[in-house]
Symmetry: C2
Subunit: 208 residues, 2 copies
């Protein structure tokens, strides 16, 4: 506990400006956006950014966990509102893929690109843990084949993550990933649910 005297007004203002700018730029371009650009957007020098946040990770942790956390919390309750384990898991997968597609910052968080942003990491872990609970529920329930593992779920989200990061992604790559889940249900005629529900951003393609 070090004695922390209050910040000067200009310092607090600059922190606020930097946080606003960081939020805007990170959400638009992902967590590896240029810090110079963030400082410029905030109307503050790059030196001030480092004075206040120390590093990129510091800035990330000061800004992203809150928005990502509330998004993921709302998402979690929506998922749990579904009635069957299968519906919940399907909703989780398609929903996460959509969220990652809409939000490059969340996407980078799930890819663990900045492992020193510990606050953010914790939040992502909680969300992934929720998904893995759903896998276990679906196993217990008998609806999900045991050879679809919790790790497989992680791989699906990771694949979606790296796919989102490529500006030349072909259209509708999401189908490949969601099909992998469709394949794993024990009942026949695997769900059209997941396949058709991907609402996300699909970029135009480098397709032929």
């Amino acid at each position: 506990m070090t004695e922390t005297r209050p910040l000067r007004r200009d310092a607090r203002d600059n922190i606020a400006k930097l946080q606003a700018a960081a939020l805007e730029v990170f959400l638009a371009k992902g967590l590896d956006a240029s810090l110079d650009e963030i400082a410029r957007t905030a109307g503050v020098s790059i030196g001030t950014l480092y004075n206040r946040f120390g590093s990129r990770e510091g800035l990330i942790d000061a800004v992203i966990p809150e928005v990502a956390g509330s998004k993921l919390l709302a998402f979690g309750t929506a998922v749990l509102a579904k009635t069957t384990p299968r519906e919940r898991l399907e909703e989780f997968v398609t929903g996460m893929i959509d969220l990652q597609g809409e939000d490059p910052a969340l996407n980078d968080a799930i890819l663990r690109r900045y492992p020193d942003a510990v606050a953010l990491l914790g939040i992502c872990d909680r969300s992934i843990a929720l998904g893995q609970d759903l896998v276990r529920d679906a196993h217990a329930d008998g609806s999900l084949s045991p050879d679809f593992t919790e790790h497989d779920l992680f791989c699906m989200l990771w694949l979606a993550g790296i796919a989102n990061r490529d500006p030349h992604a072909p259209a509708n790559w999401q189908r490949v990933i969601t099909r992998a889940l469709d394949q794993a249900w024990t009942v026949g005629a695997a769900g059209q649910h997941a396949q058709t529900e991907v609402r996300g951003g699909s970029r135009e393609g480098a397709e032929k």
Copy 2:
């Protein structure tokens, strides 16, 4: 047709040294390897590399199409040796994923990262076209669901490509992709073939 006088001996030697070095480095690190490193490996200055090949794409096209072409040709005949459309397509998918995993240069080629390397592009296109023929055959045959499209196959290879490029890939992400094919066969109890056959390089994981 410009009158092309023979090259001087030192020039020809340097071309050979550069090609050998480029092959080595490209195969090890992918087509975006540092050109300085290639020149250094060849024992030649970076200026000479540019004198002789003009650009990265020029060097790629002078070196990769031959090896990639013969690999893919052999692969193609191996695939066609399988008896059923289903076996052929499964072999194609798992085999391509393996090849891409072993060979970063081929992987980059399939991702079309250097669209100006026209010779290489042509070769990759032929291979992808083979896969798409196999999809059509499996459709005609009735064994593959019509909602698995040729484009879906392209997406599978593309996903494998970007996954291969990430040094922090989790273990066994390949299963997610091959499962997407398993899902699409019209007969029940979808193939253990594809799932268990991925022989490739699976890196250790960022898994927990």
